[in-house]
Symmetry: C2
Subunit: 258 residues, 2 copies
């Protein structure tokens, strides 16, 4: 409990979402979510989300397991502004305090993103920061985090790692950035984790295989928490020998290092 | 499924453990663990672990929820060598293939650490790497990861972050390392996540408050998944004004950035 929180204030719950967003296949919620997380989410009347439609779809899945606090239509869903999705909201330029009115009035609020943990590789940190600024207690609930499942399954260094997000889309800039990240990984031993919009997975893999040194270790993790989940891990030479590929329709996380 | 895995081989399951290791208070397992994770763990006869005693204690907690595959005494627990705990096992110097004999014989194996996700801020990556080298399928199960719960609850940049592990124990080296990390965080916007042995939490906090610039943002997350879980987040100036502290008996994760 934050020392400056008041019992009159609601709390901000960080509610993880399943990782099957946008996938043809869905994973059962109990595959990736503790019951305590689903129960806490089911109690919430107020929500801050990336997209109200997909949040309703998630809440409908929760309702199949445990009853919601009221009818789906009665829940109060506020969307984060679109500009915050695109540019990210960690620059401190977006003031999210107005989204937390319900908590100031004593109601608990849920923060949820499209997949995984809100505010990690997803928007939401502006809301968490605003909560701290207002003395609203923050509670992070347990759920799936694709980056860390990918890292654990990579066999790469998990004692020193960085998530660097997306690499540039322009081929030359992309290759340069990948070389930069590889140099850093090889020099410091820090595993570098990167992601791409699914339909560009194969393109990113191609650039990685063309750009990285033969002995650099590369790992992919696709469809995490789905029954089709797949990890590959080996040197660039092994990747080429085994002709491993990734799917352009399934969320994939890449890790590289030594 | 890894393309080179064979149906005759067992799989390597990465089994997360609750975060209350060494804490006076325990969190109910359903607070932090999906039922599917507990069910998968309960089926495993073969284990690779940091410490057999604490793994047995964890399995006993699982058995209270879902029956194990056999009596606790009958399970096969192999400990990672002590040298691997201390130095980490991501250097590629430790060959863990001999630990995976059971999988080569067709049995599934669980890999577990003392708390959280194995191979993340904990030993285990040598085992995962060996599994990939042997064509053994790796399955990462969902559970709590303190680093990411801390990051999500920090309000700091979650779109670019690094986990850097422990800082040096010697005061001058420690302060220098913290300055180095702060410079990197302020320059690149990359949140830096660090941890300390619990009994040194207050010492680390003191050095952070003495070393960081007044406007740098610092966050702590203590006792994650426990009912006493506590996040603090603010500028160094705010930390001093509010006289926030951390507990020397509870695992704590620190995040810093701009």
């Amino acid at each position: 409990m934050s020392s400056n929180s008041s019992s009159r204030l609601g709390k901000l719950y960080l509610v993880p979402a399943p990782l099957d967003f946008g996938c043809a296949q869905q994973s059962p919620l109990d595959q990736s979510m503790p019951m305590a997380t689903l129960s806490a989410a089911a109690c919430l009347q107020y929500w801050i989300c990336e997209n109200a439609k997909s949040t309703r779809a998630y809440l409908k899945r929760i309702a199949e397991i445990t009853p919601l606090t009221g009818p789906l239509q009665s829940l109060d869903l506020q969307e984060l502004p679109r500009a915050v999705h695109k540019k990210g909201d960690h620059h401190g330029e977006f003031d999210a305090r107005h989204l937390l009115q319900a908590a100031l009035a004593g109601h608990d609020i849920g923060l949820v993103s499209e997949a995984g943990m809100p505010a990690v590789a997803d928007p939401g940190s502006s809301v968490v920061r605003a909560a701290h600024d207002l003395g609203i207690e923050v509670v992070a609930l347990v759920g799936p985090v694709s980056l860390l499942l990918a890292l654990a399954g990579s066999g790469l260094n998990g004692q020193n790692f960085a998530f660097v997000g997306y690499v540039p889309a322009t081929p030359s800039e992309r290759a340069q950035r990948i070389k930069e990240l590889e140099n850093h990984a090889l020099k410091t031993g820090q595993t570098q984790i990167l992601i791409e919009t699914p339909y560009r997975n194969q393109g990113l893999l191609q650039t990685l295989l063309q750009t990285l040194q033969p002995t650099t270790r590369l790992a992919s993790a696709s469809g995490l928490t789905l029954s089709s989940a797949c990890h590959h891990s080996g040197t660039v030479t092994q990747w080429k020998q085994k002709a491993w590929t990734v799917d352009n329709k399934i969320p994939t996380v890449f890790c590289m290092g030594r």
